[in-house]
Amino acid sequence: MAEKIKSTSVELPIGGETKEIIDERIKKQAPVPKELEKQILKVDHLKMYFPVTKGLLARQVAAVKAVDDVSFSIKRGETLGIVGESGSGKSTVGNCIVRNYNITDGQIFYNNQDLSKLGKGEMRKLRKEVQMITQDPYASLDPRMTISDIILEGPRIHKTVRGKEERELVGQMLELVGLNRSFKDRHPHEFSGGQRQRISIARGLALNPAFIVCDEVVSALDVSIQAQIVGLLMHIQEELDITYIFIGHDLSVVRHISHNVAVMYLGKIMELTSSDALYKTPLHPYTQALISAAPIPNPTVDRGRERILLKGEIPSPINPPQGCNFCTRCKYADEQCMQEEPEFLDVGGGHFVACHKVPGTNMKGGH
Amino acid sequence: MGKYVTKRILLLVPTLLIVCIIVFALMRMIPGSAVDMIVYRLGQAGQQVSAADVEAKLGMDKPAIWQFFIWFIGIFRGDFGTSLFQNESVLSMIGRQLMATLELVILTLILTNVISIPLGLYCAARQDSISDYTIRSISIVLMALPVFWIATLVLIYPALWWQYAPPATYVSFFTDPIQNLKMFFVPSLLGALSQTGHQLRTVRTVTLETLRQDYIRTAWSKGIGEGRIMLRYAFRNAMIPVITVIGGSIPGLIGGSVILENMFNIPGIGAQLVNSLDNRDYPVVQGCVLIFAIIVMVVNLIVDISYKWIDPRVELE
């Protein structure tokens, strides 16, 4: 499959049978038009505003600008990581793509099909290809269902397997995520958090999707378990050629699994580039602060470096600043930053930044 | 607080509308019309009238929706319509009988609470003791006894043994309290029996839950005596759900009053309702049911408001 092995050293028991089935599935995945073989998802100026209502009759008085003009594209088989603090809108982006909300504005192109324009029935059909795994392993599994039923829910809705095939599918999925096949008759409460996330992943994979949104899937787990799950996801990506959006707030984790990373703040993307470039040359002040906040395994280096501390408070998403969203906390902010919103521009080599102070955005000098 | 009260009162109006619609619709669904009754009766008295005439006179030839609106608007002016059979306004008819029913309900309430609350608290304090079990068993038995059955037995056996019969004529409380209570005591007690059983268990359960709370444990460890704990701390907090239960028991009590009034010759609204129903006297039945519904709504409102007043944690929405 892929030459560059990105997964960690966790040994996953994938037997011979499963390998065949994996190949089978890859063949069965939805065909993609030749031109777009590369680009599987394109998000254009996505806006998601939630109305704030007041009074008995629920008049709208304001809007929470959860996602405010976000654009990006993802190539097939790659992972886009989205990082940001709570309230940055990253989870909302994931939910919008899966059509959990009706988006306020913008377009989402999946395989050149505009998701935002699809009716409920058509969207339902697309669910076989676009899936989501969520954060809470305790709430997302129905306590009254067996593992087998949980994994089979998707296939049963869409009638993709029948009768005896069901058992096989469950077995394959469990094996794929590294769980024992005998677990299929148990109930969720008998498992730990990490195991439940694996079950969630198995459920997501049961429909053989080409695209999965991973919304903070490891945030609720212990650090060591996080590593295992991330490794598992990367392994699956290699084997089944699935595209991910990986949403999280821990930059080190996101960066590990992602090919490209988008840094979000208050509903807008501040910086978007490859994960390597993000670490080597972070351009946006916010990214720099995030990186400096992440601990480095080497204690000497960690203690020796300079930490960037953000001053100020995060503004309200109902009433974002007039200029750059980050201006209230940025140490480089000036008049222009307060007044004018910076454009989201490519400053070279596919490295996008929204900041007035970065050379190449406007010629007013660097930092 | 005042804003909340006004808001709640305003919200009563749509509920009232719906209640009226339901009552009106139900009435109209009953087969056999009042008009036929009237024609029949008048015919028997020697007067020949046509159904159409009667209809026109009573305003019943207009479409149903129109009739409904006339009635509904009338309510706000205090005009509940006129009885089709008696030459009296519904309101005055109800007014006459209301006192009796209210007295029955209030007495029942008093008896219920006087018995159930102290006993319930006692049972909670002495959980799982012999007296606890005994009282609980008795209360369950009380709940299971049909009111009308006990009432029947009460009417039959004392009559057989002691030639006892309940007073047949109604005397208002203000005229002659003793005579009045003689009439009301037995039915109230009977009505209270089953409700006491139910409420006692609720009081006990709720108090037990309250007693498990941390702040009670703190009081214990501070050395505060049991009696004081019960009265000052547990009682107040436990009473909140109990108030709801009391409020919720009102519809049941009213229903029970229908039976009791029937059996003990109390001239209350329940008895009136059954009579008028047989006559298909729409306005009166509507009025009676409506009055009951209004009482229930008012009681609910009071319960809600006292909730907010007693428990500061509950948000004033």
Binding site: R127, T134 | I18
Partner: protein, 301 residues
């Protein structure tokens, strides 16, 4: 089930009693000394209102019917009524409550207002009016009792449905492609089963009581069908100077049945109440040992 007998002996007793009543109801024709012929009870005009005798263990009533047989057939009426009514009203509650909660929005609002209004009207009055509309009879009585009970119970079901419908797994079901009906059937209803069962178990007693009251007032089943409530009015009260015991027997039976169902309902409720599970009071050494064992065996993912 085993829990019932171990922890709640009273509840088990209630269940046994109820089962007995059901048995009697089913085997009425066999058990009754004077079984029904062509849907009518045998009438013996000569032996009217007689006290207990060798032929008639509990005596006869004013029409010469055997009291014991009448009571046995009365059990059948009560059981049929109780079961049908409880099931029907629970179904109505579920339909109203769950759809109202799941669909939400304006639909929910309107239904809720309607239920509110309905609740304000005292139940007995509604029953009387409904029986007037539909006339007397077993089926009518079942409907008349089930509909208000169903509407009243929908509140409880709706509030538990609401607490469930925003759960993570319901959302996931939508993401997997489930529509409103799928979510209702596969996720919401199974997860509110405890509440539903609690309601079921407890309401049987109330139904019996209501039925008896209705029959008492004369609005219940038609006079031909044996009924305990009817016997109290018709036979007991009317003949109170001659045969006062006629009022006694049916009342005792009603009380026992209501009592049994109350005990059973209570026991079910206690066993299923999540608050009482694992509370401070309910820990015992066996349970602690079990938990400790499970913790020891737990894998590290």
């Amino acid at each position: 089930m085993k829990d019932l007998f171990k922890k709640k002996p009273m509840g088990a007793l209630g269940l046994i009693l109820l089962a007995l009543f059901v048995l009697v109801a089913i085997l009425a024709d066999v058990l009754a000394p004077y079984p029904m012929v062509n849907g009518n009870m045998t009438v013996d005009v000569i032996h009217k209102l007689e006290p207990s005798s060798a032929e008639h263990l509990l005596g006869t009533d004013s029409l010469g019917r055997d009291v014991l047989s009448y009571l046995i057939y009365g059990a059948r009426t009560s059981v049929i009524l109780g079961i049908c009514c409880t099931i029907l009203s629970t179904l109505i509650s579920i339909v109203i409550g769950v759809t109202s909660a799941s669909i939400g929005g304006k639909f929910d609002l309107i239904i809720q207002r309607f239920v509110d209004g309905w609740q304000c009207i005292p139940g007995m009055l509604i029953l009387i009016i409904l029986m007037n509309i539909m006339g007397n009879g077993l089926v009518q009585l079942i409907l008349a009792m089930a509909i208000p009970a169903g509407i009243g119970g929908s509140r409880m079901i709706r509030s538990s449905a609401i607490s469930v419908k925003d759960a993570g797994y319901v959302k996931m079901s939508g993401i997997l492609g489930g529509n409103v009906w799928w979510k209702m059937l596969k996720h919401i209803i199974p997860n509110i089963m405890p509440v539903i069962l609690m309601g079921l178990a407890g309401s049987l007693g109330g139904v019996i009581m209501m039925e008896a009251s209705m029959n008492f007032l004369g609005y219940g089943v038609d006079p031909g069908t044996p009924s305990w409530g009817y016997m109290i009015t018709n036979q007991g009260r009317s003949n109170m100077y001659v045969a006062p015991w006629l009022a006694l027997y049916p009342g005792i039976l009603i009380s026992i049945m209501v009592f049994a169902s109350a005990m059973f309902g209570d026991a079910v409720r206690d066993l299923m109440d999540p608050r009482l599970k694992g509370g401070i009071g309910s820990y015992n050494s066996k349970k602690i040992a079990k938990i400790a064992a499970r913790m020891g065996k737990k894998q590290t993912v």
